[in-house]
């Protein structure tokens, strides 16, 4: 018998073991839901799976009686647009300032303390400021995401740039490169895959800020809907929405990882650990 640390499950075994906890949770939920519904058919706390299907069917495939929109898709689209804009703008700012701070000592001396200070501000604490300054429209929600994740991205990118071995920068200079060429040909291509990694890490926070902003001031969006139907204890809407958000987050993460593997083969060793 091999030691436990040397025993590896096969492919089928991995799938089974990975799916098992999900199945267990679903089973426990179904059991608890049945028990409660048997006692009180109008119980709203743990709706049956059939109610989820019914609720999503109503929101996703029937136009809303009030506005004529398909609310589910409308919410998804609005949220993804805000998330995409927020994360995209943050990534661009993070990349630019991270590289400049990392490679140019004068810029680092000048900007690094500021970035550190900003990163310590709790973004939710200045949400009212954003609503006052940018109004209740789209802008303040996007800005909340930007303020929430950009300092992290800048600092992470700066760190990645500083991690590039000094030998490479010297080597580039002996090949005749000037500062701008070093940024463009040595630094930028090497930190792009690391930017994708950092974005993947920051997506959790981005969703948090998005839903918080939507909960407080919005007229559509996944977070808005969840907080709206909370008033009616509509667990049959809330739980599928949460599952949907989780699925979206998973898909975005998967796509970013896929893009990184495709675009930067040198960054992913042929048989490395799954990142």
């Amino acid at each position: 018998m091999k030691k436990l640390i040397n025993q590896h499950p096969g492919k089928a075994g991995r799938w089974f073991l990975g799916l098992l906890p999900f199945l267990l949770i679903a089973l426990i939920y179904a059991g608890a839901s049945n028990a409660r519904l048997a006692e009180n058919p109008n119980d709203k706390l743990l709706p049956a799976f059939a109610s989820f299907v019914e609720a999503i069917d109503r929101l996703a495939f029937e136009p809303s009686k009030r506005s004529g929109d398909y609310l589910f898709w409308q919410d998804t689209l609005s949220s993804l647009k805000r998330l995409g804009m927020g994360v995209g703008i943050s990534a661009a700012i993070g990349l630019t300032f991270g590289i400049v701070n990392g490679i140019i000592p004068y810029a680092r001396a000048n900007l690094s303390p500021l970035v550190t200070a900003i990163s310590l501000i709790p973004p939710m604490a200045i949400l009212p400021v954003l609503f006052i300054v940018f109004g209740l429209g789209e802008l303040s929600k996007v800005v909340l995401i930007i303020i929430g994740i950009t300092p992290f991205l800048i600092r992470d990118m700066q760190q990645r740039v500083l991690e590039i071995p000094g030998e490479q920068l010297i080597k580039a200079q002996t090949l005749g490169a000037n500062t701008w060429q070093i940024i463009l040909r040595v630094v930028l291509p090497q930190v792009l895959p690391r930017l994708l990694d950092a974005v993947r890490l920051s997506l959790g926070a981005a969703w948090l800020f998005l839903i918080a902003a939507e909960a407080i001031a919005a007229t559509d969006g996944l977070g808005y809907r969840i907080f709206l139907v909370r008033r009616y204890l509509s667990m049959d809407v809330i739980l599928p929405y949460v599952a949907w958000i989780t699925l979206l987050a998973f898909v975005i993460d998967y796509v970013l990882r896929f893009v990184s593997r495709r675009a930067f083969p040198w960054f992913h060793p042929a048989k490395g650990a799954d990142s």
């Binding site: 071995p165 030998e167 490479q168 010297i170 080597k171 580039a172 200079q173 002996t174 090949l175 005749g176 490169a177 000037n178 701008w180 060429q181 463009l184 040909r185 040595v186 291509p189 090497q190 930067f264 083969p265 040198w266 960054f267 060793p269 042929a270």
Partner: protein
């Protein structure tokens, strides 16, 4: 006028004297191998030639002009590690210097200049025996192949001086012998001026046309930092009897324990 003139160069770190009064000249086409105990300032000297460190006193002249205070295309370098760019294939690594030269703005060459750079780089890869690996990334290459690539990359811009900082230190003995042949061949063919640091005095004797030994001549036990290393031997290789080699070897091994950690 000599090609490189090292003119009364001193290097201090604070009150610690590392190198004291280096004074010599080097002609084009010389292959200088530098040996010495660790911590005796060999790498500091190489860094001054490279431009990442400046002499505290004295100056280093290349063709009569002081060396630039930062690395530039006059000097090529191969480090022990991290000399090649992991995000570029072998071919792109070698083409890089030409691309940087052709397009000062974005550092990518296009059209005919790109094709010329590509041809030249392929020739260079052929010379160092890497043509079959032209489209591989450095991480797919062995340590020896990476160093071959680093040499090819450095030579394409035809630097006036090639600096090698223990380039073969991490390689297996067999591969090391291959690399010696490669470097000797390239040096004779292109009449390169090379400075190479090595730990292996036999390697130094075999490769160089001139061997420098860095060592502290004077050691004051009360003030170990008061004196720096000098070039204690400056030997034209080939005209030296093997007994000198043994002499240096024993000398070096004797002084090593005397070095403060």
């Amino acid at each position: 006028m000599s090609f490189i003139r090292i003119d009364h160069v001193f290097k201090f770190y604070g009150d610690q004297l590392v190198l004291e009064n280096l004074h010599c000249s080097v002609e084009r086409g010389e292959f200088i191998t530098i040996v010495g105990a660790s911590g005796c300032g060999k790498t500091t000297f190489l860094n001054m030639l490279l431009g990442t460190e400046q002499p505290s006193r004295g100056r280093i002249l290349l063709e009569g002009k002081p060396l630039a205070g930062e690395p530039d295309e006059n000097r090529g370098i191969v480090f022990q590690r991290y000399s090649v760019f992991p995000h570029l294939t072998s071919l792109q690594n070698v083409m890089l210097a030409r691309e940087l030269e052709h397009n000062r703005w974005c550092g990518y060459a296009f059209g005919s200049s790109r094709r010329a750079a590509r041809r030249e780089a392929l020739d260079m890869l052929e010379q160092v025996g890497l043509a079959p690996a032209a489209n591989k990334y450095p991480q797919q290459l062995s340590g020896g192949m990476q160093q071959r690539l680093a040499i090819a990359q450095s030579l394409i811009r035809q630097p006036k001086i090639l600096l090698l900082d223990e380039p073969f230190g991490a390689l297996d003995p067999g591969i090391r012998a291959d690399m010696h042949q490669l470097v000797l061949g390239l040096q004779r063919q292109q009449n390169l001026t090379i400075f190479m640091i090595t730990h292996d005095i036999k390697e130094g004797f075999y490769l160089g046309t001139r061997l420098w030994v860095f060592d502290k001549v004077r050691i004051d036990p009360q003030a170990p930092n008061a004196f720096g290393a000098r070039i204690t031997y400056d030997i034209p290789v080939g005209k030296t009897s093997p007994s000198v080699l043994d002499d240096i070897n024993t000398n070096l091994t004797e002084t090593v324990p005397a070095q403060p950690a």
